[in-house]
Symmetry: C2
Subunit: 350 residues, 2 copies
């Protein structure tokens, strides 16, 4: 059964070879999970670029941010022969009870006039900064709220994975707001406008002991301090989203309510996209939710890569009934596809 996404013929639109490394010592391993926004008539992607240092037969290396190192980046080394080294998950390096990432991510700008052919900046737009981002910044959502762009991303360090926030009006000067939601948290997608006078955001805390990874919704007077946290939607047993779920980009206002395209994974870590519809005036109410995925890994680049069987969307452009999603495939490349709001809403009514 085909899903609701019409993939770009040009997919993937970004592969690691298309992006120059931030410094010559590093290699771009993956380019994935872009935040998306429109500015001056252009489609802009804020790519997550995951870089690695070259390994050898005997040593595994990974970069971390270190303010006093040359270029601000230090390369950690681990002996492959070390019995305390665990490389079983390609995303992590586990050594003596401490977990490091196998790559370090930054955010890179790419712009396009047609939404398909992009020009990528030669250098990072945003690198991690400070004690809470020393392992990098990942999976940025870009939400325009009252004329200002809010960037919410996973801030990774030895202190955990929390939600970092940066805002800008002109994409030249950036204000850093620090960690707005503490560890473990990812997939923070603020609503683009106030509801009931407040700001709102979706996010995905992780309780490893009870509850697991579900989507929560929270409220704020100022976008910086969050409270009134409510578990909005849970993973569902015996469904495509039985293992974990997380929000995608900012919810889309429709006549029927707030439409959110979210990701879910099953016990095999197969990531699909689904939709949920939230109350127009009370976003803590889930009105409908996809019984089946609206998009699932099917193209070769979605089934094989750095971490295969993944479609993951944290950015899209909405133009009337048409949504152009930009998505990470197999945690390695960036692709594009279109969907229709009307078709998604119809699927939620079935």
């Amino acid at each position: 059964m085909p899903d609701l996404a019409t993939r770009f013929e040009q997919n993937p639109i970004f592969s690691p070879v298309d992006v120059p490394p931030s410094i010559p010592d590093l290699m771009v391993r993956c380019v994935l999970n872009p935040g998306v926004f429109r500015r001056d008539g252009k489609t802009c992607l804020l790519l997550r670029v995951a870089e690695d240092a070259e390994d050898s037969d005997t040593v595994v290396r990974t970069p971390v941010l270190a303010p006093n190192a040359p270029n601000g980046i230090a390369v950690l080394e681990f002996e492959r022969a070390d019995p305390d080294l665990d490389l079983s998950d390609p995303r992590f390096i586990v050594h003596r009870g401490e977990t490091y990432l196998s790559t370090m991510s930054h955010l890179r700008l790419a712009t396009s006039t047609d939404g398909v052919q992009f020009e990528v900046a030669p250098k990072p737009l945003l690198l991690g900064e400070g004690a809470h981002e020393s392992f990098g910044i990942e999976d940025c959502r870009v939400t325009e709220i009252e004329g200002r762009f809010y960037l919410t991303y996973s801030a990774v360090s030895a202190n955990g994975v929390g939600i970092g926030m940066v805002s800008t009006e002109d994409w030249t000067e950036f204000t850093r707001h620090g960690i707005v939601l503490p560890p473990h948290n990812k997939d923070c997608a603020p609503f683009p406008e106030r509801i009931q006078g407040s700001y709102w955001t979706l996010h995905r805390p992780f309780d490893a002991l009870i509850g697991g990874r579900n989507i929560w919704i929270s409220r704020s007077p100022d976008l910086l301090h969050w409270g009134e946290h409510v578990c909005l939607a849970r993973k569902r047993p015996d469904h495509w989203d039985c293992e974990r779920i997380g929000a995608g980009a900012a919810p889309i206002r429709t006549d029927e309510g707030w439409l959110e395209i979210y990701h879910g994974a099953d016990h095999d870590s197969r990531y699909c996209l689904g939709a949920m519809l939230l109350g127009p005036d009370d976003p803590t109410r889930v009105l409908a939710r996809s019984e089946h995925p609206i998009m699932e890994p099917s193209a070769p680049y979605e089934k094989e890569g750095f971490f295969g069987n993944v479609v993951f969307c944290n950015g899209h452009i909405v133009d009337g009934d048409r949504i152009t999603i930009y998505y990470g495939a197999s945690d390695q490349v960036v692709c594009g596809a279109t969907m229709l709001v009307s078709e998604i809403l119809a699927s939620l009514r079935r």
Copy 2:
């Protein structure tokens, strides 16, 4: 080497037999980890009372809150013979990937004129309420701020463990503020006064993948919405607090800075108390921290019980140089001890 605590001769001051169950169907399994405050010249404890339903040879039972059940409490049953049942940790019942607690906790008031002999209320003061507290509420801190008492506790449900907050002025009418910090989080101890014009709190998020359990500090304009989260202090390798740390009660203002008595555990889950000193005008600065515990399990009731080798303090009364701490011992009974601020500060200078 003796620690800095002078234990009450009367310890334990509360055992499960001293507290009547909330309804006849339940048994009080543990009474522990009281929040502490002063009111009308009395010392008041807000005891955590952990209740259980009676098990049989073939069935394990545990209570959960269920609004439509008689007394608002339903009893879940699990067949001991079920191969998908895991009872290896006495605190949890794990069944088919879902985790339940083996007991359900509520908060019970006990009052005293001398701080040693307490009168316990026959009924709960506060029960869990709503979707985020259906497995109970635990380990309450009571902080008086600007004439109002703020109760911060672990709110436990199938959605995870987050921080719930309730406030009251008169201990008759209570305002529920919902979940103020999302899962997984515990050990939330607000400061008793504003610093730099803001409210502040210590808390302990848990990132199971990277970072573990460390103490964070956060800032708020209104005590309800929190941001500017910073990792304040980390567990320390090769120390008594190498596995996890968490805040105790509200920090104590001293001439040298904010004194916080916190708990730490090692890899054997042996819980001790230590102290840290935070900057008087900038509580995100750690000025000093206990190299060795200021209190460690040594009395018989601290070494054996529901979960042995635990001293855990989330409430104390400060009277000049003298701190009277009330603490949970072995996750089963409540005890008292005194310490001197001057001795703790001296130990931090060594």
